[in-house]
Symmetry: C2
């Protein structure tokens, strides 16, 4: 009880403390209040006087109550299509579990490369690598495709979030998959949706066109280094209790024989699955939104009886994520509408105006990277900070090619810091295999590795291929 | 299975049939597609090839897929503050049940006037009458205050939605409460929120100021007649199996003695409850939105531990209602943005241009009334139809006072037709005591009584007090 009061004091103290600081001259009162509530919500979801979701809902309520945003906008995150893509991903993964198809696919993977836990992880990362080369929807790709398989793998190894068995394999696997996912976001122009925005901004502001091949060639060397180092780091940090599974291959073979041929619900799900993926891949031609495609898939599963309505409304994990992710998306979106980030960026730039460009670039890139703690999407981060930071670094005399590439990749990699950094984060995190403390610890260590590799190996590689 | 195919043929046939009709000249293709999807969704939620909620979700998906509205707007109902008020009402009523406070209040009511079932109903209607005289939020009033008590009353009588005991008391009580609620909406300027919009429109268009006392005095005579007739009709239509409860009073007395004094959670809930109601009542002065007030109340219940987070996410009924009400609110709001209702209204007006005013008024008022089948809120109905219909009736020569009052009250009363007619409708209906067929049957019969009483008794009363 006393413990709880201390937690409340920290959370409310942060919010009230910031709110009492007079806002900078150009910042409207509402924007400053929102900043205070946002930071208090984040602090509160770390120290947890209430469960994180309840903290966020309280933050949404506070934002409306203290008139930081009107109620209509305070609720706007719950109509956000990316939030609904997360919901849809949960429902599809429920169908994977219900029909047993996810289990079957997992067993096939286990049969193929299941001799070691890390091999299992890489088989999924490899799948995600292929997908990222043409599917820019991270929510769809990870939440809809990789996650259901990962979830079945962990269930196959009797590793579950709630009963003390998370450490067997789930904690390691979910952390590895998400951190690798973030690297894959950075690796392809199609790695995630707002990379296309970055391409536009870089062309407009610095005259550099990061087309598909330039993007990939520049990224692949540091990307591969990180795809080796970061899983190894996570393996050391959260060593899975199940490390070697010598009997897994024969076990999987036996289980697959028991399962026999595909059942009718499995066939329908597989067909829906392939159709949804095919439509996602071909989105460039038909232009149908990926949330719409996912929701059509769910409608088909409902119509064919593969999913029943009660499967959806009883998927309470999904509603939990819906509440907190929707709330954070709203706050981040509303904050990015204010001029707080711009003022912040300009303030930083004015301080370091006289420095040499390598030091200036280093400081700015780090600030740019760690600012992602305040963003619930890469898009919001890019929209708020990419242009001012690019402008400042160019003004400092940093070669255009170098700063464009560094900021571009950092915009993606920084999403690994938190459990709300980009669309798939709440999907993986929401399963409950990884505590917030562990998630953030892994994110922080991975961020150091990513920053070192991309700024040393990357910079040398880009010099070598003539980008600066 | 064959039955299911027929149901799908009816549902899809309706939608495709309407979609294939070429839209009127001024109606954009998207608006017409939306109309087709809306009507197909309504038909589908009546014949039910899928459960109603799944039908609505499929309608939302179809609206986005067939580009009737972009996905961002298709999901907008899920950020609607009235939809969230419904969610909040469910959560508050969960607390009422969890703490036992609802049960205690119900027992007090039973002790007071529980000798007959209809007496129980009237005790709640009387409470609602008092509340409606100063609380314009119907969702708050009914969903947050009346419903938890009603739900506890039905539980006390062992009448539950799912186990065949709905007919004991629940079906009768929920139907009576909702139909009376609609009459109370019409009775006060503060009966529901958009009455304030009506007041503005009537002043602007016809120069008539329906202030608080004029509104009430004009309504009270037909209102009282309906508050007697309609419960009697419902009593005949859905006779509660539990009609007389001679032992209820002594039973309640014994139970209340067993319960003893208020527990701590009950006290906190009662305090929150009174604070929320007090803030709702005083909204005129402080201007805090009623959804915000309700959500602050829920935050307080979470913070104090009266409700736990899992109570919220496990309240699956709430999520069910959230999905379908949010979908219908969106469709109705989007339809009212199109010019379809205006074209429809103008079409009607042009046909009856040459008629005498009493016949013209009768026809127009009936069309105005039954058009509410297409609306998920009184506000939307008023915004779309009040002005054109008022204009047409005035042009026909109908006395301004008469047509203003008739359209004003009909705008409220027509909400009784469906289970989505106004905010509290999905709250009462969503409990599951009343099937959709029964709900609509009661709504249709009540509509005939309401129309007859308000147009005969009302018209005479308004003549007597000099309104025309």
């Amino acid at each position: 009880m006393q413990n709880k009061i201390v937690k409340w004091l920290i959370t409310l103290g942060t919010g009230i403390g910031i709110a009492l600081i007079p806002p900078p001259a150009d910042v409207p009162r509402e924007a400053w209040t929102l900043l205070a509530i946002f930071i208090a919500t984040i602090v509160g979801s770390i120290v947890q006087p209430l469960t994180g979701s309840a903290m966020v809902l309280s933050g949404v309520v506070a934002a409306a109550l203290f008139q930081a945003v009107p109620i209509e906008r305070a609720l706007s995150g719950y109509a956000d299509k990316f939030v609904w893509l997360v919901l849809a991903a949960f429902f599809i993964s429920r169908a994977m579990i219900k029909t047993g198809l996810g289990n079957r696919i997992a067993l096939i993977f286990v049969r193929l490369i299941g001799r070691k836990t890390i091999g299992l992880g890489y088989s999924l990362v490899f799948t995600d690598f292929i997908l990222a080369s043409f599917i820019p929807s991270t929510g769809a790709r990870s939440g809809g495709i990789i996650l259901p398989i990962a979830r079945s793998v962990t269930e196959t190894y009797d590793s579950r979030p709630d009963d003390g068995t998370a450490g067997r394999i789930g904690t390691f696997l979910m952390t590895m998959l998400y951190q690798c996912e973030v690297i894959l976001c950075a690796t392809f122009l199609t790695g995630q949706a707002s990379n296309l925005i970055i391409r536009r901004l870089a062309l407009d502001q610095a005259g550099i066109d990061l087309n598909y091949s330039i993007w990939f060639v520049s990224a692949i060397v540091p990307s591969l280094v990180c795809l080796v180092l970061i899983p190894l780091m996570i393996y050391r940090l959260f060593p899975p209790e199940v490390k070697e599974t010598p009997n897994a291959v024969s076990f999987a073979r036996t289980e697959l024989e028991k399962l026999g041929t595909l059942t009718k619900p499995e066939k329908i799900l597989l067909a829906v699955f392939i159709a949804v993926v095919a439509l996602w891949i071909s989105a460039f031609w038909h232009g149908i939104d990926s949330t719409v495609i996912a929701m059509v898939g769910i409608s088909v599963l409902l119509i064919t009886g593969v999913l029943e309505w009660r499967d959806l409304i009883n998927e309470t994990n999904a509603w939990d994520v819906f509440i907190w992710y929707g709330g954070l998306v709203m706050m981040a979106a509303e904050l990015s509408k204010t001029n707080i980030t711009t003022i912040f960026a300009n303030g930083v730039a004015s301080v370091i105006g006289g420095w040499s460009w390598p030091i200036g670039l280093a400081v700015l890139a780090l600030v740019f990277f760690y600012a992602h703690y305040a963003f619930a999407s890469i898009t919001a981060h890019v929209m708020a900070m990419f242009v001012p930071f690019l402008a400042v670094t160019l003004a400092l005399g940093v070669p255009a090619g170098l700063t464009v590439l560094l900021l571009t990749y950092f915009a993606n990699l920084s999403a690994g810091l938190t459990h709300y950094g980009t669309t798939p984060a709440p999907v993986y995190f929401g399963l409950g295999y990884v505590t917030q403390r562990r998630w953030w610890t892994a994110g922080l260590i991975a961020s150091v590795i990513n920053i070192l590799v991309w700024s040393i190996v990357g910079t040398l590689w880009w010099k070598l291929i003539g980008w600066w």
